[in-house]
């Protein structure tokens, strides 16, 4: 009989704390050396399925489970943790939280240590894993100040030391810059080629294709919608729910002849006085630390919709923190509406510039959404008569109307994100600055709020036209820049290396690659069609121009 690493037979699961089924009749079979891609929108049960495979369900998570999950012919529920840990290796969504040791060597050795293996065997396994992933140079480093990509690989090494036959990767690409993500995918592929069974959970199908999966499992509301070879692109996959390569979308739109409203044409706002000005700005966090910003010059005008691209650790966040006075330049100056930030209080600046931090969990604290939104305006000293109305308006714009008395901490991630944006709206800031607004977010969810936020068509009922004079967002997702920006900044080597219209900045593929940004299928397609379209458009809209 041939060895089957993983067999799942009509698996159904319901969390004790939830009324609805999280998984329903899931069945699948995997061969050694196979790479399976699991896709689906947020909340469709990807992580739950993963938990069933690595035995956290039924062990750690209580609920009703039926059906069978067999690892090499043995039921998961009957295996002991040590055995299982050596069959299935799991890489969790966020490496930051998977790493349990303060230096790389101990992190990688953690698993074998727990198995109580003899020293020299552990040492030998650690060296092998580090060698396999080309991480020897990190051996003695502290885990805390590794880059995102390095953390990712170290976590993986820690899993490989248990030498499992099945690898389970739950959205491993979040918050990696495109180049790092691509490197990670190539590693996953090669592991599959070595005979390990790899299960890759990722809703950004577009990027996951990089790992050349053998099969695709598409889930929706806990059910299997499609299971089959990746190249036979199925109509079932909804391109509004998961991120598909542009050609697929076009093909789908055409074949199902979904009618797309003609792309609205931009209203070119004439450039008035600049709102924010960077004049020869230098910055370093400490006199004995290296320069992060070197001679940065930048003017932000009303009507700008700026996307800021650049590698991990380049200094993007550092740059925008100057625009809200959280950091002051060590040389040169930053002017906001003509005033030097050095002479302004944080509160003053906040009236002009609103900053949405990457993770909502970093700022939400109040018992109700209303109080959360009152916080800003009260600090800025708006009078209590106006505030309730500010709040109502901003809640409506991010369509959270009716959530006023709901605790923000109990909201879903997407809703929390929108709450933080509403909180900034309520402060009546003129400029909106967002640090990686889409990181860790589900595709459907973020396209929705980016649409409302960045739609500048003449008939726009959007936040931008309603409140913000200009918007700037940092992102690692090139397509976001392609779709929503009317101006793109490329940051690298301590300063802004390119600044201009998307079609001008993004056409230079070599420069993008130099700064770890990988051209996407959407960008390529747009560049091909540019003569016809005249400007960049979302994939759906492009369908109209493809013969």
């Amino acid at each position: 009989m041939i060895d089957k690493p993983l067999v799942i037979e009509n698996l159904t699961f319901k969390y004790r704390t939830r009324p609805e089924l999280a998984l329903e009749n899931v069945s699948l079979e995997l061969k050694p050396g196979e790479l399976l891609l699991i896709a689906g929108s947020s909340g469709c049960g990807k992580t739950t399925l993963a938990r069933c495979i690595n035995g956290l369900i039924p062990r750690s998570y209580r609920g009703e489970r039926s059906g069978r999950v067999l690892l090499h012919g043995r039921e998961v529920a009957d295996m002991h943790i040590p055995e299982m840990a050596q069959v299935v290796g799991t890489l969790l969504q966020d490496p930051e939280r998977q790493i349990v040791a303060s230096n790389v060597f101990n992190e990688v050795a953690f698993g074998p240590e727990n198995l109580g293996l003899p020293r020299d065997e552990i040492l030998q396994r650690v060296d092998m894993a580090l060698k396999r992933l080309k991480l020897e140079y990190l051996r003695e480093r502290e885990t805390f100040n590794l880059s995102g990509g390095e953390k990712q690989k170290v976590a993986l090494a820690g899993v490989l030391t248990m030498n499992p036959s099945i690898l389970l990767l739950d959205e491993p690409l979040a918050s990696l810059d495109p180049a790092s993500a691509h490197e990670a995918l190539e590693v996953f592929r090669s592991l599959a080629d070595e005979g390990k069974t790899v299960i890759l959970v990722e809703h950004r199908v577009e990027d996951a294709i990089g790992a050349k999966p053998d099969r695709l499992l598409y889930m929706d509301e806990g059910k299997v919608k499609y299971l089959g070879p990746i190249d036979k692109m199925p109509k079932e996959i909804d391109h509004t729910k998961v991120k598909l390569p542009a050609p697929w979308v076009v093909q789908r739109v055409k074949s199902l002849n979904i009618k797309t409203e003609p792309a609205p044409k931009h209203v070119e706002t004439e450039r008035g006085e600049p709102l924010v000005v960077f004049e020869d700005v230098d910055f370093q966090y400490d006199s004995d630390l290296p320069l992060i910003l070197n001679n940065v010059n930048l003017k932000i005008y009303p009507g700008d919709l700026i996307a800021l691209l650049g590698p991990n650790g380049a200094g993007k966040s550092t740059l925008v923190k100057h625009a809200i006075g959280l950091l002051k330049p060590t040389k040169g100056r930053v002017l906001i509406e003509g005033q030097d930030t050095r002479k302004m209080s944080v509160a003053q600046i906040a009236r002009a510039v609103g900053y949405v931090f990457q993770s909502p969990t970093h700022m939400l604290y109040a018992p109700t959404v209303r109080e959360e939104l009152e916080f800003g305006p009260k600090n800025l000293g708006y009078d209590d008569q106006q505030i309730p109305q500010f709040i109502k308006e901003s809640l409506d714009t991010v369509n959270l109307g009716g959530f006023d008395e709901y605790p923000p901490l109990a909201l879903s991630f997407g809703q929390q994100k929108r709450t933080t944006i509403a909180a900034v709206l309520a402060m009546r800031s003129k400029i909106l600055v967002m640090d990686e607004p889409t990181a860790g977010q589900d595709f459907a969810n973020y396209t929705h709020f980016m649409d409302t936020l960045c739609d500048v068509s003449e008939n726009a009922q959007s936040i931008l036209s309603a409140n913000f004079a200009a918007t700037l967002f940092i992102t690692h997702d090139l397509d976001l820049a392609v779709t929503y920006a009317n101006r793109v900044l490329l940051f690298g080597d301590k300063h802004i290396v390119a600044d201009g219209k998307p079609q001008d900045v993004l056409k230079d593929a070599d420069m993008l690659l130099k700064y770890r940004v990988r051209p996407t299928s959407l960008l390529k397609l747009n560049l091909d069609l540019l003569p016809k379209t005249g400007r960049f458009l979302p994939a759906e809209a492009l369908a109209a121009y493809v013969p």
């Binding site: 004790r16 704390t17 750690s60 998570y61 209580r62 604290y365 018992p367 605790p407 923000p408 901490l409």
Partner: protein, 182 residues
């Protein structure tokens, strides 16, 4: 949350013990950097509310570890030194506060919050009393000094902090827990 019994000691307790300790350490250290409201010779250490919270939310073991390790790391960060008796005192604080865990059904409910606060304040009293009495025995100071010079200020400050901040923490936690149950 999950209905683990009070004295269970597994991965969960290890992790939250560590997290509680790290938070307690960092926050105590931070309050040594930023000036905080002070009344007379009573200085406030908001971190204590966090310690009591971890006790109440995750039980006595977590409270004990968070208190002992947290205080040790906090002192190490601030460069005070290592005072085994004060670290142990902090551990006892968390442990006593943790005894309430099994009685808390709903972190939003007023009754449960009051219970937690009471246990917390008792914990603080016991913990600091322990530290002060060892101080007395070790340093050879009389009861009077131990009480007036050490106990009263420390106790008052921490008790106030707990009464004010613990309820806020618990209400927030109720919201978080409602989102991700086990």
């Amino acid at each position: 949350m999950n209905e683990s019994n009070t004295w269970e000691f597994g991965t969960r307790q290890v992790v939250y013990g560590a997290i509680g300790a790290a938070l307690y350490g960092v926050l105590s250290w931070v309050t040594n950097i930023f000036p905080l409201p002070a009344a007379g010779n009573v200085t406030f250490r908001p971190a204590v509310a966090v310690l009591i919270f971890f006790g109440a939310a995750y039980g006595p073991w977590v409270g004990l570890l968070a208190g002992f390790i947290g205080n040790t790391l906090g002192d190490a960060l601030s460069g005070w030194g290592f005072y085994w008796n004060w670290s142990l005192g902090n551990g006892i604080m968390g442990l006593v506060a943790g005894l309430v865990m099994s009685q808390i059904k709903d972190f939003r409910a007023q009754g449960d919050i009051i219970k937690a606060v009471i246990y917390g304040v008792i914990g603080i009293a016991v913990g600091i009393l322990f530290a002060c009495l060892t101080e007395m025995f070790v340093g050879g100071i009389d009861l009077n000094t131990a009480l007036v010079g050490y106990f009263v200020p420390a106790f008052l400050g921490n008790a106030v902090v707990t009464v004010v901040l613990l309820p806020i923490l618990m209400v927030a936690f109720a919201a978080v827990a409602s989102r991700r149950g086990r």
